[in-house]
Symmetry: C4
Subunit: 254 residues, 4 copies
């Protein structure tokens, strides 16, 4: 029984993706969808009791899962014995698991009402999905992307810093150019920062738009700079991926 759970819950370091693990991920997904739908008043109003029941069911499933994990994890030499269990309880995924169901079961005991905010704690379970990355197929993507970002961290940090500096300088330009004319939009540097970051990342909500000729000319110049803000990090990453791939190939050839 213990061994069956140990295998099925994918607790072994080199474990496969079992049917029970898949079922748990499916329940996590369902539970997240429930919270998302519950947050929408046009869906939840009138169905509060149904959603509360669902929340308790999910909480109960997660509690049982937690107990099973705690019981079966002992077969993993890293977490065997009493001290191993304590160590497991404070491991990353065990804390996530605990946070996600704790409010449903503990809060009512202490007479604290389970508000809809406390349900949101269950969203932490989304972090659980990262454990999916243990499986080799997904890991390929993660490892490569992570490695490229690590390899190019100095260039990327420099590019992001430059982006913030350009956003800041643009904000000051428009604050000086239009601050007196449209105080609501550009009357202070923080207000102008909202405009400049929305513009330079090419989102362009259009809620704030310069109204003077000077402001528009400045914007056109700033606007062309926005091409560089996208192009430089992309170029860095593209080179990084090419490099990582050719290194992998060289290693294979040798």
């Amino acid at each position: 029984m213990k061994e069956y759970l140990y295998k099925q819950l994918s607790l072994a370091p080199d474990s496969k993706f079992t049917y029970l693990t898949r079922a748990i991920y499916f329940v996590i997904l369902l539970s997240i969808i429930t919270i998302v739908l519950e947050s929408e008043p046009s869906i939840s109003s009138g169905n509060e009791s149904k959603f509360l029941t669902l929340n308790y069911i999910f909480g109960f499933i997660f509690l049982i899962e937690y107990i099973c994990r705690l019981y079966a994890v002992g077969l993993n030499p890293q977490y065997s014995g009493f001290s191993g269990r304590i160590k497991y309880i404070f491991s990353f995924y065990a804390i996530i698991d605990l946070i996600s169901f704790a409010p449903f079961l503990l809060l009512p005991i202490f007479g604290i009402p389970t508000t809809s905010e406390s349900f949101l704690l269950r969203l932490f379970r989304i972090l659980r999905l990262f454990s999916l990355l243990k499986t080799s197929r997904n890991a390929t993507g993660l490892i490569l992307i992570g490695r490229v970002i690590m390899d190019k961290r100095y260039e990327l940090i420099f590019a992001i810093t430059m982006t913030f500096v350009i956003i800041f300088i643009s904000a000051i330009c428009l604050y000086l150019a239009e601050g007196h004319i449209s105080p609501e939009a550009f009357g202070s540097i923080p207000r102008a920062l909202w405009w400049s970051s929305v513009t330079l990342t090419t989102i362009g909500y259009g809620d704030i738009v310069p109204s003077t000729v000077l402001g528009k000319i400045l914007t056109i110049i700033i606007t062309v700079a926005s091409i560089g803000i996208v192009a430089i990090p992309t170029g860095i990453l593209a080179a990084g991926f090419s490099e990582a791939v050719s290194e992998l190939k060289n290693r294979k050839d040798n």
Copy 2:
């Protein structure tokens, strides 16, 4: 006659791009343009009978083409004989051909009125255009793009998953920050999801914009993350294309 049709309709596996085939593609294009124009009330109102006639003409042409194909395809050893014809009828392009003209000819027989929605079925013919890709020149582009996407599928799936996770987390942030202040815009996670996906893909309609200081600060941070959402897949694909090209060259050299 049969051989002539067989050649002209490009039914042979290694067929060339004949004049009849070109004419058929031209008629498909015309028929699609007709549907597009017909859907516009300011064009179609008053000309309903003309458009109906056009629709019947196109339907008739496609019926004849279908019969000719069914007749001539027998010369292709893959589709010869009665069982071969049945096999052909259920092939991808034959089904598309059937769907595209069937409503015009069959519906009136059964007394069902041909509504403008049924005409839309002809739009399936757009899929017919994919058969254009059989010609070698277009295929170069398709094969290379398809191969790069296949080669990099794990990285791309991971990048897309991360994009959705970032969109989801951004939506939760704004739901918590502004849900109580602007319930129409951020009052539930699904509503906030609309805002966060429009923002993080840098579309930025501006129909929903955070109004609080906290919401705006969160947006500025999220906004800079949007650069990564575009840069990472682009970098992956750029590396993939470089790789595919150098592989092709190596193969040529050897």
Copy 3:
């Protein structure tokens, strides 16, 4: 005199960038700025006669330049003699030169008033600036970009075709989903095409936004597709530039 003009007007096939040529480019630029400013009513109103004078001055300068070129080009063996001059008159840049000043001088003769639209013909002179590319430094950029686009034309044509197909399919989706609810915005395929092309290129004006839940869910899906629309051509071009650069290096090494 003739030789001096021949050299100074950069008419020789391997000509350098002379002072007179620079002066002419400066006059072209000035003349374009004049047209741009003249088109703005708040600048031109009250100064109509000044702008008219400027237009005649520019026209006169271009006329003299044209005559000088026609006179001096004879030293170029390609355009020598009477038949060579005729050949020169019908060369690309000579036609542009003629178009740009002709209306100012010919129209009044025939009693046709020189409207502000006829001045716009001078904008054709902007094409003259392309002759700047003859100088070797600018040519490096042009040749490389042109070559990469030529090398990758099949992939790029395929990517652009796919972009149009995705824009078209998105338009049909929203036409079916919201056509009956917001006829002004999505009431026909052409109207929906406006929305889908603005959205998928991540411009996102926000003048038209889906209002139903179905429309918004479709948009979120379509929206993520927009990342690919930017990423694929960028990836193709990035690979193309890498390739072109390494080829140039190989040639140098050999």
Copy 4:
């Protein structure tokens, strides 16, 4: 004392990142944040005297720092002696330092009121942060990005020129198509330039949108061109980074 200051202020050519230098950068950052917050009326109103005191404190700190630097820099052989000090005073960072605190101390002496605009001069201190780049870790990013941009300057200048030409041509198209219909938005080339630069850089505020069918068709075509405007510079930079990285590796191998 002098040697301690010389080391601590990172004045030596091969200086490390000391605690005092870190403290100074922290004060610079604090002083910038103060200016940003002060510019926001909802924060500064009522606290004017507090902000004025802060401004004087920062000015005083920067004055002392300046005097210490001027005193200790003599140990650097490049700036030793009286003429060396004069040379230091006119060095880039010393001028920035002087600009940033001068108004607070000199203006009141001459009876000129310290307006909030004069405080903005302190923002020049942001340029001081560039000296952070002297440290080797940050320099890696800067040197690589700077080198790639230098290597590819002809291609990038050509791409940016093309971007401006496309923006200009798009503006003329819409000016001709919609100038008579919506004079406010497209009534002159400069007005249309605002629209075309906001559209082609994919910002898309939506404050100005074409209203006619012709204008919309032109926009759809222009819109697809915007993909190239982002893709070409990105491709150039991506190739540049790949190249720079492989060169660095070759040098290391040899």
